[in-house]
């Protein structure tokens, strides 16, 4: 049962680690996010409001698609507003969510065309490129920060002044994000796996102890039997020694036996008794004490001594005996 639990814990831990890895890879959040506005009848000009490029950070890319060459114009924000007065245009005002740019239709009844939209003296810069036009947000940010720090600028987007200013605008920002639960999955999985492994090792070690204990007990019992056999057939001194052991293990009346045990002879001198003592030192020691105590006529004292496991038949030794 313990080993099964350990294996289960290890498996759960491994699952946690795998989940953590998946959270870092397959289930990891996107490395970039793109907000898009598809423009229907936006008018001859589209304006990206100041700061919209930086909603998702100061790096990224703007992609503008138009029917023809796309011109991206920078100018003072008030100049762009003044220039577009009376002109139907669309403003990109922000991002309603991370995939959608919010837009505002301005002066829908205004002029539908602009004459020479790239030729105004108001424009600080005009950059024309074939569609799709791409703009590096990092470079644009650098141009209005640091030494060139200024009010964030609008971007005016036009094509030829008659067609739509832009058909589609996408802004892509890099995302520095990760699944928040990944560290927990790693930590929890690792902890559970370690606990499971420890349990597994302990259970294997204990099983080894049990096996060893069984192996130790079996020859001991066999040898005790042999001793008893030897007692039955051997000399009186050996029989006294073996009898002392047997009485102690059984918990039977030691006083009676001790009173009957021969005292003049050393029990270790008996061939059977010496053999048992060499095989189970702890038991022999305990029993030797007990036997000695009993031989000294203090067996009743020894029996009342709860701190002496060897003398307490209801102690752990008794459990060991039962097993």
């Amino acid at each position: 049962m313990q080993r099964l639990l350990a294996v289960l814990l290890v498996l759960i831990g491994l699952i946690g680690l795998v989940l953590g890895r998946l959270g870092e890879t397959t289930w990891a959040p996107e490395t970039e996010t793109t907000a898009t506005a598809t423009l229907e009848d936006p008018g001859p000009a589209v304006v990206i409001d100041p700061g919209v490029l930086y909603v998702g950070g100061e790096k990224g890319e703007v992609v503008i698609e138009g029917a023809s060459d796309v011109s991206v114009i920078t100018a003072s924000n008030s100049d762009i507003d003044a220039y577009l007065e009376g002109v139907h245009h669309t403003r990109v005002t922000g991002a309603s969510d991370w995939s959608t740019l919010s837009t505002e239709d301005v002066e829908p009844d205004g002029a539908a065309e602009i004459s020479d939209p790239t030729g105004s003296d108001l424009w600080r810069s005009v950059d024309t490129s074939a569609s799709p036009y791409t703009l590096d947000i990092g470079e644009f940010w650098a141009a209005e920060n640091g030494e060139n720090e200024q009010v964030y600028r609008s971007l005016l987007i036009v094509t030829d002044g008659t067609a739509a200013g832009a058909d589609k605008i996408s802004i892509t920002w890099p995302v520095d994000d990760e699944n928040e639960w990944v560290p927990y999955a790693y930590a929890g999985g690792a902890a559970i796996a370690v606990i499971g492994l420890v349990l597994l090792v302990v259970s294997i070690g204990r099983r080894g102890d049990e096996d060893e204990g069984e192996l130790l007990e079996e020859p001991q019992e066999a040898r005790s039997s042999a001793a008893r056999t030897s007692l039955a057939t051997g000399g009186a001194a050996a029989g006294a020694a073996a009898g002392g052991l047997s009485q102690d293990r059984d918990g039977s009346n030691a006083d009676a036996d001790s009173s009957d045990a021969p005292r003049a002879e050393d029990p270790l001198d008996a061939p059977g008794a010496r053999e048992v003592g060499e095989q189970s030192v702890w038991s022999i020691g305990d029993r030797a004490d007990d036997a000695g105590t009993g031989a000294d006529g203090t067996a009743s004292d020894a029996g009342s001594d709860g701190g002496s496991p060897g003398a307490d038949p209801s102690g752990d030794d008794a459990d060991q005996e039962r097993r």
Binding site: L9, G16, L19, A35, G51, Y54, R124, P309
Partner: protein, 362 residues
């Protein structure tokens, strides 16, 4: 500690680790950790996009035109003038040249038709910008002044006056005044900082731009007597104009008593609607405007003024003899420096370019 004691302790640990409650706890704990992870995975939704950042709010307004922008406009002015002069077609001046500059050019082309030597009097501002001055005032119309090179090699620079009527119009140059030689020029703010645009009645100066221009016109007309407080500094254009008039006066009355044959007088007035004023670094102002003048030779009754040879005026008029009057019309673009009221000092004309527009006589 006896070996027996050690053995007993080892047994106790083993027994405790295998208690049923411990197993359940471990399973519950492991399940809890995994469930927490899964719930966290399901519950982690991205936050909504923030509002667009506004960036830095400037404490001071910035120029409405950068140096680069002005440097793009000035060559187009030059190109337009050059093209128009080559074709003697004032229509080619548009859209970069407008106002009095276009009118003056058109008049000169008319003179050139009658006397080709008038072409030598055409003054053309160059394409290179020396000092740009841009306004920080966002309102329209906007003004800008640039000190530009002369189109002639090693020539004297011109003050070029420009105006942008509205947001949908481009800058147009309405006049240029050649820098006065030998006059100290005021210091203007850095182009990155820009200048405050001034109107005709701007205050904080020793006199308003309108007053300064009126004073200048009066002094050009009447001489230093019109400036008893000596508020106007001497300037090459005034000096040269008066010298030329005095020379003609002497020529006109050569061999007779003083003004016996006739009188000569040039009257100046300020043209309305054309004024470019920008604040200088010391709180003063550079003001550009257009003056109109008429130089009239009134011939005494019974007298006849006769040129021995044709000149470019008589070629235009078609006669060398005048018995009543002989009139020449001019237009002059001028640039003045008006000191601040705190600093005080004289109004200093710093540039002027005069263009002959017409000539008549009888």
């Amino acid at each position: 500690m006896t070996p027996q004691t050690l053995r007993g302790t080892a047994r106790k640990d083993t027994v405790m680790s295998t208690r049923p409650v411990g197993r359940r706890g471990l399973l519950l704990g492991a399940g809890g950790v995994l469930a927490t992870g899964l719930l966290a995975a399901c519950g982690s939704e991205p936050s909504a996009p923030p509002a667009p950042p506004t960036g830095k709010q400037l404490a001071e307004p910035t120029p409405v035109q950068t140096t680069e922008q002005i440097e793009e406009i000035v060559p187009e002015v030059n190109a337009a003038v050059v093209a128009a002069d080559e074709a003697k077609d004032a229509a080619k001046l548009a859209p970069r040249v407008s106002g009095s500059a276009a009118e003056f050019r058109k008049a000169v082309y008319g003179l050139i038709e009658k006397a080709p030597e008038w072409a030598e009097d055409l003054k053309v501002p160059g394409a290179g910008t020396i000092v740009p001055m841009s306004s920080v005032s966002a309102e329209f119309p906007r003004v800008a002044i640039a000190l530009v090179e002369d189109s002639v090699q090693d020539g004297v620079p011109y003050f070029l006056a420009m105006q942008q009527k509205d947001a949908k119009s481009g800058y147009t140059a309405w006049g240029w005044a050649q820098q006065a030689v030998g006059v100290d020029m005021p210091t203007v703010p850095n182009a990155v900082v820009g200048s405050e645009a001034l109107t005709a009645d701007a205050e904080g100066l020793v006199m308003t731009p309108a007053q300064a221009l009126e004073l200048y016109a009066k002094v050009l007309t009447d001489g230093d007597a019109a400036d008893p407080d000596d508020k106007l500094a001497a300037n090459p254009f005034q000096t040269g104009t008066h010298e030329r008039i005095q020379a003609e006066r002497k020529e006109l009355n050569k061999g007779v008593e003083w003004d016996e044959a006739g009188t000569i007088r040039e009257t100046y007035s300020v043209r309305d609607g054309e004024l470019a004023g920008l604040r200088t670094e010391d709180g003063g102002a550079i003001v550009m405007a257009t003056l109109m003048s008429s130089r009239k030779v009134a011939i005494k009754d019974g007298a006849t003024m006769r040129y021995a040879e044709d000149n470019k005026y008589t070629k235009v008029i078609g006669t060398r003899e005048f018995t009543k009057q002989y009139v020449r019309e001019f237009g002059t673009h001028v640039a003045l420096y008006i000191p601040s009221a705190d600093a005080g000092g004289q109004v200093q004309p710093i540039g002027a370019t005069q263009t002959a527009l017409a000539a008549s006589g009888e």
